[in-house]
Amino acid sequence: MQSANLDELKKDSRSLELNTLSLWISKLGIFIVVGIFLIVGPLVSAKFYTLANLTTILQTVAILGIVAVGVAFVTYSGHYADLSVPSVMAFAGIITVATLHYGIAISLLLGILAGLSIGIINGFVVGVYKANPIIWTLAVEYVLNGLMRWIWGANQIYPDLHGNNGRAASSFVNLARQYVGPIPLVFILLFCAVIIGQLILSKTRFGRRLKVVGSSAEVAKFSGINVPLTIGIAFLISAFAASIGGIFLTSLVKLGVYSNGTGYDFNAVTAVVVGGVSLAGGRGNIVGVLGGTLLLGILVNVLNLIGVSQLYQTIVEGVIFIIVVGVNQKSLRKLGRDDA
């Protein structure tokens, strides 16, 4: 009797269709917005499409982009954001400058290692001890910031004053001004970061583990995935990217100081979230983060071109962040997945 009904029973009558258009928009919709801005841009100012202006746009956000790629891994892992980013940037920069007398290569290495050490601490505490990532990285931000002011006495460290290695100092200062052919080195670095980040996320085993962890840490645990290690690596990647960004920023401003990375935390999170990486974790991609970064850059540029002051720019940025997070949250709630 049951076998007669079996075919009937196996059929699932529920509606199973997902809107493919909305899926695509959620994936790469950010570039549509970037495109709109690129169309609107020249209407606002004739200067918009000059090569100089486009270079300016990229220059203002290249370092931010590198940092945001790193933060995206933390967000993707379901841990919202790494707020220790500004201090890590400053720290990596200061250490690089302070060790310039060992030669440029060694000082760069030490700078990156300094940043990574903070990433290891963050990853360990959040991964193993399940500390709240926001509170913990915020605390680390403050402690590290204070440590730097204490050790270096709130002094600015100038590469050319430090040690006598004039050649190392000048090659360090040139780092952010270096061109490879016609293209600034920092642009190449940004695109490398995006491509490598995207490959790590979508092609490696770590990336697939991170996706499960970000989607549900409990499920990951019950799937035999080493959850603390996976989270730890995400924070390590964030610290690595912040170190690279911090070193370039230090080179750009020609001095190492505790306040170097100020503002990069919120800007990076904005770029990540505007770029479509879900605050709930497990969803989004690094190419989208590039889109979010570019959008911020173009926005600031357009505001500059029409003469809006810095003061109002932060307001606009904050409002955009609120709108994006709000829309994101609402669509999650609609799908019944509001676990952010």
Partner: protein
């Protein structure tokens, strides 16, 4: 005798099926009316109708002789119906008093809390459940589970209910605590409150209930006075005769070699000195009530929880591990009982979920192949690996969960409630897959409260009760009646083993 609740021809339909079909059910003032049935029999749906969870039931409900509409929980409460759930509804960090009077805190003037009345009122309520000695200003998290349960009852009493519904109230209580609860229930009976009592523990029901209604497949089997029925008769009514037919007897595929052997395994407070073995190609059932320590045993076997003592041998050599990662590498896999929290990542696709426990095992290309094969073998519908898992039905999600563990190619697969809450079609597919795995030489440990499933699939069943191993039944003799009796600590198998030890 006064009838406080009367349900006439009540039905509740879910898409495609009746969860509750034309039920007549009534409760007298001052009686305990027990509601019995296996998982999926429709008990909890009926309770939800009473509690006002549905606004689309059909039939008539009378409270104290008046026809009422129970279309929302608030309407149920207004009509004097109070539910006491298994998961306590108390806010743990705040005081007992504030919990008891939540939503109607006494005030002085408009803004100020009237502490004196608060304490006085809550003391009165606590007194009714035998907790008069407890300080009502203590936070709920500081009292024991059983006391919290009594506070929960006190909270319900605060709304002056005429009907109290208790869902498995004793599942987390010790014997002494159960006796205390029964004492209080008897007092409530004298006060004229009608109590609906749901439980799987048959001995308890014969002790506390006045009448019992048995449900099966959404329909009422019978209502009897408790003095007119034996435990055996109740078991027979719950199971019915048709249930066994679902399982075609399979030719056993057991090989001689022991795959997994567990010696004196203990985790303090959960299970103690457990010994058992599973052979290659064998399906070993574990029978027991919820709280018997079955899931806890499984969790320790795969390294999610620690063990305090004992040995685990795989293929004759002792293995030790402290993480599920390692256990999985040894070939021990665990399909956990909670699909949504621990089993499937609802934001990932079907394919990603299937591969989530074997990320290091397959290359992307092999992974795709294996996903395709498993989707086909388990008849996952729709058969698309990119579809978000959340858009699948419960039964198909459960198939994907099984596929996830099959993809790890385990030597020993532990299944914890593999078909809970799934439709019959999916259930049959899952059973077929489990039997095929055994035939191919996998060892399977099956934990399930679904007794027909346990009896139909297992080659051998071990019985656990309160964290102890209390007996073993060979398949030849294994009937649902025997299993249900054994789970309740009764029956010849339990006794035989006890005497021989």
């Amino acid at each position: 005798m006064k009838t406080v609740l009367e349900m006439k021809q009540v039905s509740k339909k879910f898409p495609g099926t009746y969860a509750v079909k034309t039920i007549d059910f009534d409760v007298f003032a001052g009686e305990v009316h027990a509601l019995l049935g296996e998982n999926g029999a429709g008990k909890s749906t009926l309770m939800k109708v009473i509690a006002g969870y549905f606004n689309d039931y059909t039939g008539e409900i009378l409270v104290n002789g008046k026809t009422v509409q129970l279309h929302s929980p608030a309407m149920a409460k207004a009509n004097g119906i109070q539910m006491i759930y298994q998961e306590l509804s108390l806010a743990k960090p705040i005081s007992i008093a504030e919990n008891l009077l939540a939503g109607r805190l006494p005030t002085k003037g408009t803004w100020l809390l009237d502490r004196k009345t608060l304490i006085h009122e809550s003391k009165k309520l606590l007194g009714r459940v035998g907790l008069g000695h407890i300080d009502p200003l203590v936070a709920v998290e500081e009292i024991s589970q059983s006391e919290a349960e009594l506070v929960e009852i006190a909270k319900a009493l605060g709304n002056n209910p005429s009907i109290l519904v208790m869902d498995e109230p004793t599942s987390a209580l010790s014997k002494e605590e159960v006796d205390r609860l029964f004492g209080i229930i008897n007092v409530l009976k004298k006060q004229g409150i009608g109590i609906v009592y749901i439980s799987h523990h048959l001995p308890e029901i014969s002790k506390i209930a006045d009448r019992v209604t048995v449900m099966r497949d959404g329909e009422k089997v019978a209502t009897k006075d408790i003095t007119d029925v034996t435990t055996e008769a109740l078991v027979e009514m719950m199971i019915g005769r048709a249930a066994g037919e679902m399982y075609r007897k399979r030719s056993s595929s057991i090989k001689e070699d022991v795959k997994l052997e567990v010696k004196k395994l203990s985790r303090r407070g959960f299970f103690h000195n457990i010994d058992f073995h599973v052979r290659r190609g064998e399906i070993l059932g574990i029978c027991g009530l919820s709280g018997a320590g079955r899931s806890e045993l499984a969790r320790s076997l795969v390294g999610i929880d620690p063990i305090d003592g004992g040995e685990i041998h795989l293929d004759g050599t002792e293995i030790q591990f402290r993480s599920m990662n390692r256990a999985l590498a040894y070939g021990l896999a665990y399909l956990s009982e909670s699909r949504k929290e621990q089993g499937l990542a609802l934001r990932l696709s079907v394919g990603e979920n299937i591969l989530s426990a074997s990320i290091s095992r397959y290359s992307p290309k092999d992974g795709k192949e294996i996903v395709k094969k498993l989707i086909k073998d388990l008849q996952v519908n729709p058969a698309e690996d990119h579809r978000m898992i959340a858009t699948l039905s419960g039964g198909n999600q459960q198939k994907v969960l099984l596929a996830k563990w099959m993809a790890t190619e385990p030597k020993v697969l532990i299944l914890d409630e593999p078909t809970r809450g799934v439709d019959i079609g999916s259930k049959m597919v899952i059973h077929q897959a489990v039997m095929e795995m055994a035939n191919r030489g996998y060892s399977v440990i099956l934990i399930t409260s679904d007794l027909p499933e346990l009896a139909g699939l297992s080659d051998r069943v071990i019985i656990m009760r309160n964290g102890h191993f209390i007996g073993e039944i060979d398949r030849v003799d294994c009937t649902e009646e025997e299993l249900l009796l054994a789970a309740n600590g009764k029956g010849e198998y339990v006794n035989a083993i006890r005497e021989s030890r």
